[in-house]
Symmetry: C2
Subunit: 126 residues, 2 copies
């Protein structure tokens, strides 16, 4: 059983956190057949935390958890904080395979997606 | 002449800002024929600022500037700061059409892209 855990920073604004949870529900429609469940977790300021999110996936039966950092910049959070938390979880759940995808901003499809956003707003000739 | 201006928050880490500039160069390859030039600007901590970025587009001959906020969350920056700065620029450049696209996190393609990131990392059955 394979889980997808999408990690965002977390905000004091509940609405921002809710948006991420809703986004994860949308993602689950796109990964049917590839991932059995999709969850959100937050680095700080919101719950579930990353360790809690991983634990919930394991409790639900996940043998593999793919972690996607929903971050645009490769700052300290992406380079240090998330790997450190995931490494601690590897010790706690030695039988679960935890893998961290590149953060969203590094994804090769990002330029294409920004182009789509721009065109949708009204690029293109009259 | 139509310009695309991609606005990110800006970081104290020069590398993060450089990544955005490089991303804009990649975006320009995807919007050829739709936009004549693609530039980056930063809300804070880096240059060019948003007003500077708009001015450079206008100086280069842009009659329309499409502004894409490279932000994931609809926080104060997206909801208030960027519109306020762009409104001031509308007064300064009354003959230039400035339009703000929804921020990246609101784009309908985001769920699909996160699914792609997850699959690229190793979703899928053995």
């Amino acid at each position: 059983m394979h889980a997808l855990l999408i990690i965002s920073h977390g905000s004091r604004r509940a609405q921002s956190n809710d948006e991420v949870v809703q986004l994860c529900q949308l993602v689950s429609e796109h990964v049917e057949g590839d991932f059995d469940l999709v969850r959100a977790a937050f680095l700080e300021l919101a719950s579930p935390s990353i360790p809690e999110g991983i634990k919930r996936c394991v409790d639900d039966g996940a043998e593999c958890v793919t972690i996607v950092p929903y971050f645009l910049a490769a700052g300290r959070h992406v380079a240090e904080d998330i790997p450190s938390i995931v490494n601690a979880a590897r010790v706690e759940f030695p039988e679960t395979m935890l893998s961290i995808a590149p953060h969203l901003g590094a994804f090769e499809g990002m330029a294409r997606m920004l182009a789509e956003v721009a065109r949708a707003q009204g690029g293109g000739r009259d």
